[in-house]
């Protein structure tokens, strides 16, 4: 089978070009006009904030009991050992009643990589990753959070709950 080549006369080609051009511009303009009235994809960030997932890893918090105001920490140094950037600073003393008491707990949130290893390893659930993420400061030293700034008062310890609903051992 031989291919039949249809020759278009130059005059027809001229008007075909003109018509095609007008049609293409019309189609494009119609599409952009439609987009002009579609909802916008921009998130107006400081005004409207996104809903965070439940396990979002924001700033770190050091938990206290809401009822009696006592810290949950037992001073086992597990978090200090597991911290990859080694940014947790912890000091403990042995109190009168032979119980270990944490006197200093500092974390530089500029160094923290938000891996949540400390939260996972804590045997009593005394640490938590909060949903707070706007932590920029004008001074570098303000990034070092002490016990007062990390404090958060909660009703029950932050124990890791696997998907089947059983608490960790």
């Amino acid at each position: 089978m031989s291919e039949v080549i249809r020759e278009i006369s130059p005059v027809r080609q001229y008007f075909k070009n003109l018509f095609d051009g007008v049609k293409a511009i019309y189609n494009g303009m119609r599409l952009t006009l439609k987009y002009m009235f579609l909802p916008k994809v921009t998130e107006v960030y400081p005004d409207v904030k996104r809903n965070l997932p439940q396990r979002f890893r924001g700033r770190f918090a050091f938990l206290y009991n809401k009822d009696d105001g006592k810290m949950l920490c037992i001073g086992c140094y597990a978090c200090v050992k597991v911290c990859p950037p080694q940014t947790i600073v912890m000091e403990t003393i042995k109190g009168e009643d032979k119980k270990i008491k944490t006197t200093r707990y500092e974390i530089n949130i500029g160094e923290c990589i938000s891996c949540a290893n400390c939260v996972e390893v804590c045997p009593v659930g005394a640490l938590e990753m909060t949903h707070e993420y706007e932590t920029a400061t004008f001074n570098q030293m303000d990034l070092v959070y002490g016990m007062d700034k990390l404090a958060k008062y909660v009703e029950k310890p932050n124990m890791y709950m696997p998907p089947d609903g059983k608490a960790k051992k």
């Binding site: 001229y14 003109l18 511009i25 494009g28 303009m29 599409l31 952009t32 006009l33 987009y35 002009m36 009235f37 579609l38 909802p39 916008k40 994809v41 921009t42 107006v44």
Partner: protein
Amino acid sequence: MNNVIVEIYTNLINSLPFEPLKVILGTLIPVLGIVTLPLLTTFLLIWWERRLIAFVQARLGPNRLGPGGLFQSFADALKVLLKEDIVSKDADKILFSLAPVLVFVPGILVYSLMPVGHQMVVTNVNVAIFLFLSVASLTTIGILMAGWSSNNKYSLMGGIRAVAQAISYEIPLLLSIVGVILLTGSLSIVDIVEKQDVWNIFKQPLAFFIFFTCALSEVNRIPFDLPEAESELVSGYNTEYSGFKFALFFLAEYVNTFTLGALCSLLFFGGWRFPFDYLLGDIGMQLSNQLGIIWFFIKTMFFFSVVVWIRGTLPRVRTDQLMSFAWKYLLPLSLFNIFITAIITGFLSGAFSR
């Protein structure tokens, strides 16, 4: 039937005690108006363009500063003016400084010929449309001057492109207006508007599309922005400019685009006249005469929005496409339009009857 605003202004000037004061203020106030109003509208236009182009792209655009981000352009202007005014070492210093002025001044100058309302025109020249276009085309000399004096390959290329484009597109631009002039029988813009009981767009649709396309090319807007093609020529003739000189180029572009919209509304959409005001009788005439500046501004902003809408849609044409489009399509079509218009107006005026 006089325009109230014009009447108040004239009475105010005439009530001044001294004769020299009348002359000085009567000259200074229109001049100040011509210089400041385009600059103020430019701030509005820049904001509006950025908002609209964002809407086309499903974004929001500048919306933080002032109501709806309206003051964003003032902040940007302040930022540009604080920049260092760099003149490159091998540049032609005199031409380099003169070029932005030469681009900006014609853009401002044509505002003195533009009637913005009934009786609201600074100089009613009887060859206004001719003068308008000849002054507006002076911009190209400034652009070539900027390209040449920058001593930069890309800038020179942009300048040369601007000239080539202007030569090609000036001809269909003028020929498309000839149709309107044939219908009106006058070169004065005021006359053209006053004779448009039925808007010219209904009589000269082809001329309008040719005019709009050529005018887009004249003001170097997308899709005809070859002289300042960012992706090819690193913004062409204004590559080497910074600070206040760049601001002048930028302002000139927006002033010219506003002029484009104004010419479209004056020549084809009845200028300051309310739509179909002759059907409404006396109320229609009052609407046109007293509130003319509002209708004029709305129409002009509409055409500016169309320019932005085109910017959001069409890609830049190639140089050979640009040339073949002008010479092969626009020029024959505009000649055809003149031919048809001349025959019809001839028949209507009885030139062919014995």
